[in-house]
Symmetry: C2
Subunit: 191 residues, 2 copies
């Protein structure tokens, strides 16, 4: 009896989201997929948005766990950073609906999301500082450099997902390649 109803609801919502986009995530469909009635969600969440916030929170928690494994793989902080940003892009392209949900519109239930995002940001800044002291990155405000990396990775992924933008050459400006380009420039810029 490990799977409680609350978890079943979150899992069902995530699955429906992946398969059919936000339009497919109705409380009735979620209830049916979880084997409960169409309004059982209200015993666990204040409303639909809070159920979706739980889906996003779980996703960010998994992301954090994945990232934790990356840090041990590399000797130099710059390589960890690059790997993290590539992972960010790969995640967005592999799970577009969860990516868009996570960074979408939130009216409430955001505390947990904000905390996860804050932790990730703190970690990024520490890595930038380390890369700077290891001589792989130019000086300058570590928070701004971290934000620049995240902005590029996020924007590259989001623009790639908006198919109507990049009809041109495909492999020509793929999102992971753009992350590589940014890092190449940042390395050169160090001296």
């Amino acid at each position: 009896m490990v799977a409680k109803t609350r978890d079943l609801l979150v899992t069902a919502a995530a699955r429906l989201l992946d398969q059919g986009g936000p339009a497919a995530v109705t409380l009735r469909a979620v209830g049916e997929a979880a084997g409960v009635s169409h309004n059982a969600s209200y015993k666990h969440f204040a409303n639909k948005e809070e159920l979706l916030a739980a889906v996003a929170s779980r996703e960010l928690a998994r992301q954090a766990k994945t990232v934790a494994g990356i840090e041990d793989k590399h000797a130099r902080a710059i390589d960890t950073l690059k790997d993290m940003m590539r992972g960010y892009v790969r995640w967005a392209l592999a799970r577009p609906e969860r990516f868009r949900l996570t960074y979408g519109r939130w009216e409430s239930g955001t505390e947990e999301l904000a905390e996860s995002a804050g932790n990730a940001n703190t970690q990024m800044i520490a890595l930038v500082k380390a890369a700077q002291s290891q001589g792989d990155l130019a000086g300058g405000d570590p928070e701004r450099i971290a934000a620049l990396m995240l902005a590029t990775a996020h924007g590259a992924a989001d623009r790639a997902l908006s198919g109507h933008l990049s009809r041109a050459g495909k492999g020509h400006a793929d999102p992971e390649g753009l992350v590589d380009d940014l890092f190449a420039v940042l390395r050169i810029a160090k001296g």
Copy 2:
């Protein structure tokens, strides 16, 4: 009698979107705001999404007109590019709902959007080439450099709009500043 029903509907939809987000844009509300019945939209658009596509198309057309004015202001292409990217960010922050609509989910009615985006992309690439030949930008695939600029501007704006990301220092990593940072690095990287 210049204002036809079709234009009234698009205008009403844009206004409702700005004021109350996507949830406020119901065909009934649009009809009422335009002074027609709740289903008059179906005489001008196949469905709700095509009405929204018309809103997005109009927005991109206005963007293109704004950009056209920028090009004459600067002697050097690099300054035009920077101004364009700053304008992109400012537009996203000033009209977040239209920005998110434009780069959101589209199932159909995308041809016009794709064309506008394609034109903008072509123009960007030409400017990158010009900046390179003027000695303000390093060599390398102009399409990739243009895509890097757009990705950074887009990501900086989108992450700023997701309020739950940047609880930390505010002016510390503002989106326009990140665009400046990218251009600073790209200038340095040329040598």
